[in-house]
């Protein structure tokens, strides 16, 4: 996975990164789940993050790519990658760390107010 000037290996998050991700997603879950398809939901998440706190995108990338947030900020400053590069990286991150599983786990743990639901393939 290439982000800015660097290559990153995409491996699943460890538990603390996943828990932090759930806490970051918390303010966005309600509105995100109003979307009908997985694409609507993801689009809503990105839109909300850009409107509320763009640093949350950096936090999510840092957890997914297992790197320091400063490194991501540095890459962004050098190549202005907040656009498509970052979104692609986040999409890849959520492929290997499935968003439905993150949300459902967050709901059971009491971190998130809502989960993805039962059937993650059709919604």
């Amino acid at each position: 996975m290439r982000l800015g000037t660097k290559d990153f290996e995409l491996i699943p998050m460890n538990l603390i990164e996943a828990i932090e991700t759930m806490f970051v997603l918390k303010p966005y879950v309600e509105k995100m789940m109003e979307g009908e398809t997985i694409f609507d939901k993801f689009e809503s998440l990105i839109g909300q993050i850009q409107g509320r706190d763009p640093n949350d995108l950096i936090r999510l990338l840092a957890y997914m790519l297992h790197i320091d947030a400063d490194e991501i900020i540095e890459s962004i400053e050098k190549r202005e990658i907040i656009g498509p590069d970052a979104i692609t990286a986040l999409t890849e991150g959520f492929k290997i760390n499935p968003l439905p599983d993150l949300l459902n786990s967050g709901l059971i743990l009491g971190i998130l107010p809502r989960g993805w639901g039962k059937d993650v393939r059709t919604s």
């Binding site: 699943p12 998050m13 460890n14 538990l15 603390i16 990164e17 996943a18 828990i19 932090e20 806490f23 309600e30 760390n97 499935p98 599983d101 786990s105 059971i108 743990l109 009491g110 971190i111 107010p113 809502r114």
Partner: protein, 199 residues
């Protein structure tokens, strides 16, 4: 791995309590620590969690938790106790869990090993019986005291019973407000209306 008997079950409940507190405080480190402790306690094995992904760890945690859920229809367990605002000076984090062992030992004279070997469901039923007995004895003693017969403004004496815990009260359960976001989503079809109209 087998279902936990009371001794282990109470230790697991303590881990879940710590997890709940950690989530409230938004402390990721403590959340993770409570989950690791829960799995390690349940399996009695040293596990290298660094080799597991978050999904593997959480799936293990949820499976063990599901296996050790007490699912009996017991009034005492159905009522959610409000968190006490005033903490007694003798309170400590393990106290809510030790009370079960204390009550069973005090009333039946069983040893710690015997009590810890009980199934959690059996222990819960015994504890409820003990609490019912204790309450009824207290009510009888209270009814013999003048405190139970206060006089109103006109000087008329009336019996005022000792209040019972909510799970011992008969009647309809208290209505709970459910947040809008937790209500079912979509169009609600009322089947009873359809039946009346013949549709």
């Amino acid at each position: 791995m087998l279902r936990a008997r009371l001794g282990l079950f109470l230790k697991l409940e303590r881990c879940l309590h710590d997890l709940e507190e950690a989530v409230k405080q938004r402390n990721s480190g403590s959340v993770v620590s409570a989950i690791y402790r829960y799995i390690a306690t349940a399996t009695s094995e040293s596990i290298d969690f660094s080799k597991l992904s978050w999904l593997e760890t959480l799936t293990t945690f949820f499976d063990i938790r599901k296996m050790n859920t007490v699912s009996i229809d017991l009034p005492m367990l159905k009522t959610r106790i409000k968190e006490r605002a005033i903490i007694s000076p003798w309170d400590h984090p393990d106290r809510p869990f030790l009370i079960w062992i204390h009550l069973l030992a005090q009333n039946y004279g069983w040893s710690l090993t015997e009590i810890e070997s009980l199934w959690p469901e059996d222990a819960a039923m015994y504890v409820q019986e003990i609490l019912v007995d204790e309450q009824l004895i207290r009510e009888w003693q209270y009814s013999l005291s003048s405190v139970a017969y206060p006089a109103d403004k006109k000087g008329k004496v009336k019996f005022r019973p000792l209040p019972r815990p909510s799970w011992m009260l008969r009647g309809r359960p208290r209505k709970m407000k459910i947040p809008k976001e937790l209500l079912p989503i979509g169009v609600i079809i009322n089947l009873s209306d359809e039946d009346e109209t013949g549709n």
